[in-house]
Symmetry: C2
Subunit: 625 residues, 2 copies
Amino acid sequence: MSLFSTTYDVIVIGGGHAGSEAAAASANMGAHTLLITMNLQNIAQMSCNPAMGGIAKGQIVREIDALGGYSGIVTDKTAIQFKMLNKSKGPAMWSPRAQSDRMMFAECWRTMLEQTENLDFYQDSVNGLLFDGNKIIGVKTALGLEIKSKTVIITAGTFLNGLIHIGDKTFGGGRAGESASTGITEDLVLKGFEAGRMKTGTPPRVDGRSLDYSKMLEQPGDESPEKFSYLPTTKSLVKQRSCYLTYTNPKVHELLREGFDRSPMFNGRIKSTGPRYCPSVEDKVDRFATKDRHQIFVEPEGWTTVEMYVNGFSTSLPEDIQDKAIRAIEGFENVKFFRYGYAIEYDFFQPTQLKHSLETKLIENLFFAGQINGTTGYEEAASQGLMAGVNAALKTQGKSPFILKRNEAYIGVLIDDLITKGTDEPYRMFTSRAEYRTLLRQDNADLRLTPLGFELGLASKERMDRVLEKQRKTDLLIKFLEETSVTEAEINPILEAKNLDLINQSLKLFKVAARPQLDFSDFKDLEKLKVFIAENDIDWEIIEQAEIHLKYSGYIEKEKNNADKLNRLENVTIPTNFNYQKLQSISFEAREKLTKIQPTSISQASRISGVSPSDISVLLVYMGR
Amino acid sequence: MSLFSTTYDVIVIGGGHAGSEAAAASANMGAHTLLITMNLQNIAQMSCNPAMGGIAKGQIVREIDALGGYSGIVTDKTAIQFKMLNKSKGPAMWSPRAQSDRMMFAECWRTMLEQTENLDFYQDSVNGLLFDGNKIIGVKTALGLEIKSKTVIITAGTFLNGLIHIGDKTFGGGRAGESASTGITEDLVLKGFEAGRMKTGTPPRVDGRSLDYSKMLEQPGDESPEKFSYLPTTKSLVKQRSCYLTYTNPKVHELLREGFDRSPMFNGRIKSTGPRYCPSVEDKVDRFATKDRHQIFVEPEGWTTVEMYVNGFSTSLPEDIQDKAIRAIEGFENVKFFRYGYAIEYDFFQPTQLKHSLETKLIENLFFAGQINGTTGYEEAASQGLMAGVNAALKTQGKSPFILKRNEAYIGVLIDDLITKGTDEPYRMFTSRAEYRTLLRQDNADLRLTPLGFELGLASKERMDRVLEKQRKTDLLIKFLEETSVTEAEINPILEAKNLDLINQSLKLFKVAARPQLDFSDFKDLEKLKVFIAENDIDWEIIEQAEIHLKYSGYIEKEKNNADKLNRLENVTIPTNFNYQKLQSISFEAREKLTKIQPTSISQASRISGVSPSDISVLLVYMGR
Ligand SMILES: Cc1cc2nc3c(=O)[nH]c(=O)nc-3n(C[C@H](O)[C@H](O)[C@H](O)COP(=O)(O)OP(=O)(O)OC[C@H]3O[C@@H](n4cnc5c(N)ncnc54)[C@H](O)[C@@H]3O)c2cc1C
Ligand SMILES: Cc1cc2nc3c(=O)[nH]c(=O)nc-3n(C[C@H](O)[C@H](O)[C@H](O)COP(=O)(O)OP(=O)(O)OC[C@H]3O[C@@H](n4cnc5c(N)ncnc54)[C@H](O)[C@@H]3O)c2cc1C
């Protein structure tokens, strides 16, 4: 038996965040999987900042974890700082974020992948695809190997024809010091795919020993840090490393401007679009000319390293400008560079060329995930990887695809946005993209998704049991609150202490606890509650769930209703290859767009830009509703 | 102050084994040092097998440690297995060897370097050198930076115009997945340097889960493992990972031969010479056609990884041949490849172009260390790096160079061999290269070298104090043995148990202990000795020293005398730029060679091949002896 004489179920090209989750998911679903990547030493590299999560992105990491992916666990195991962002806002906005030790992160990912059954590894560069008509059947590598498989997932990140820019210098490369990848784009274009170019950038890394932190604001982690994974295999941090906050200033901006004529962004050498919401510092200075300062977060790259990531200073200006301008920042007067910032241009494929399963419409059994779909960010990449891994495995098993709805997960929003609307600039997730963000909270991703992950065979029994237990205890606590009366004598001292209106008759506990000015910690000395909590072994996670239920159930119910209504439209499916040209009563633009996107439901059709409510009415009538 | 507006004392190009030791040494000697390397994530990568030490190489690691270098400490901290090789032979042959966790090794090196004062880091690729006449004054980088320095050490390893071969495929690269380096060779050649090409190779890495270890012989580590560093900061291993031994066979050889016509080694595509003592498997099959098997050691690449290094199977045969042939090895029937073996060709510089200090003869303040000098092996590279680092620092401090003599260290032998004889093939160290190997033991590297390292300011006071204490206690123990009498009643039971001739009168203990059939453990119940050892807190290291003294002092003294005699010739110096052409009475060949090498002493002159004893007599007369 020769090495690659077997046909794999799934080949994953690329071991970045998307590829690693894809490989883990498909292997864990029982598909015989091969991960091919250029350098096995560089698995799951954090190309840019050493952090996972953040607003809307933290929710995605928890969703990945709930489904049985690895990103949450790896982040927890390698975290050096943890913060729950937006804690002062409502729970829909709470967003976990962790800094990781960059080297440990990659090592931990590799170890976890190696411990995954059904997963093989091979170091080489894929430079071509094997087709049988409109089906993919394998890949070709730089060494000349042909490896067969039933499905292929491409997760090539920023590597496809990657071009690195610093000032007026340009190098081929997929990341600083790593080769670009050629051949894949070319093969896909021949098959009729539409390829585009995008760009992204990264800030300099500097020597922490050369910074003056006394001029910056220390940003410690949370006092009682949480963690990402719902599993007890990871623990919250006991020790943390701090970040530091400083600011740019008019002098910095002036120095940056001196390099604008040599900026590949401004002089037209970079033509592709960068991430609007992760702009380079020159972009910020240019676009917000009236702002006289921007935040700069100095973030450690690991537990022991002195290397620091200069968050907020992404740039592709010439190195002499980077040098001069950064020194004008408070605390950076004597900075030493480890490496300069740079921008990278790479090929992507308009994601409207994909189905909800992330399978391409043109080529059967071929899936795309990650940056190749026009997204930016580790979390966006990882979640797509997981979904592509699941769907490739399901495909080989003859099962129908696994699709998350917009009211079920940020991951659902992400994929639906991508394939329905496409993207002209690197797409990143925001809470504002989700219409049901009260439903899609970071605290309930397990309740929302673990049952689905368990059914798929991806989330473990242990995970599922924990969810059932969490749900059971939450229900128990809510019931207790709803059924237990409290007297004036018990409650008024608490209200008095907070200067709140007193009660003048016994009330059910939930009535009092639902008051927005109070939270559970205010009741910590209430004897009945104390006894109940102790007897039923109720932890803070359960209390949090109950509290959210008490305070937000109104909003939650409303969103659920809205979602149900819209989901009814989701159930009005449109047949594949439906001929919109015959519907002369809808607008020309709508006909064009609908033909291109080929939405699978009326609801998806309604989200396509250029398709109006009246177009939808026509469609609904046509579909017999 | 702009980043690189200061002139560094020392710039080290390349963060391999040579560059890392060089940077540490020069910084620790107080020189303001900059380490420039292509990828700061890849510092001190083990390009080939994840092991340090071995025969003669283990001695070098202990010498590096004794002088205050880092290789021994890093190896100890990341070791997964330790063995003292040749323990059945005399102590001159004992050679420590450790397997390390590849990823931890690189990480630990980086951490130690970051914790070194006076050392800056910069990620970029050097592609040119700055000269002022025949002096080096700095470097140019791919980003276009010019960085000034008083001295430069080049440690570019296998990267200079590196070319990777597998079967009939060729890629530019310095190592699999990493770019080659251009510009440096070209600049040096313009300055009159003679550049050559060499090649080396590496075996495939495979998935340990696909091997059948039951068909192999387990090779555990030592039962009581020692360690490399003389410092107590590192500890011996408690847990170890095993290696496994298997063999090639006639079938494997036959399958390998099928690829010979496509072998870049045999069909002439690789013209440069490879390491004769680390031959590729195709070389072994070809050169030792009558041998029907060769050893294959399967070595783990780390604590948890399933990746295995196939020691003994280095090859650049086409991947289909690697595939077929390796499967015919017992235990490899179902092997899965992580990556294929390959060969690499790279530029080196004949080391006869160097002085003993590793400074080049042509360009002042320019030093070479490591693979660039035609050597192979991490230990050879690391030790040269350390010496170049020391000497570059000394040069900037206006001090005379630090040179180790052949009777002082393997490092002395290595450098003297290189600069005196040059090399036509990758040079590696053997015990047979050292004429004083009884002096140059691994157990006494600290006694030999720490005083020198301490004087340089490289070895710490703690190190020096330990050496003084070791020496004091050893002397104490020896004195005790020499002065203490033992009676028949005390000793004869021990001799009887070993079936040895009994004594019939009281004797000094050292007389008995010197018997070759006995070792110290035989005396462990001798009351006097027990009391002495306990009272004086004497450990096994001291006992080992005393024992070696008792048993080998004859040989040791003889070698010392020989060395002294030769060192007298070493002290007969030859003036720089001596004109040998006027010495018509020495042979033509000797005149040519002497002119080229420009030996600094009569002793060095005598080691040049082609220089006869009668040539030396003429020289001696001329020098007035
Ligand atoms: C310079 C830079 C700056 C960035 N800045 C930001 C930012 O500011 N904000 C942000 O959110 N995100 C940023 N990112 C993006 C972030 O790194 C990516 O979104 C994320 O890593 C994408 O994950 P991925 O898995 O799709 O691809 P990657 O992480 O890029 O991984 C791709 C993997 O595929 C492998 N590969 C590629 N081609 C082949 C082939 N042909 N054969 C075999 N293997 C192959 C590569 O070796 C690599 O392992 C930046 C990335 C870069 C490089
Ligand atoms: C494929 C392969 C097989 C080998 N097989 C064996 C073997 O069988 N036995 C054995 O004993 N040894 C073997 N070796 C050799 C061993 O790896 C080297 O002897 C040792 O690593 C040399 O150390 P070095 O420090 O000289 O160079 P390297 O370890 O090669 O390090 C060179 C460093 O310099 C950097 N660099 C190079 N050029 C530049 C530049 N212009 N600018 C900035 N940075 C630069 C590189 O990035 C790298 O970090 C092999 C090496 C390779 C690559």
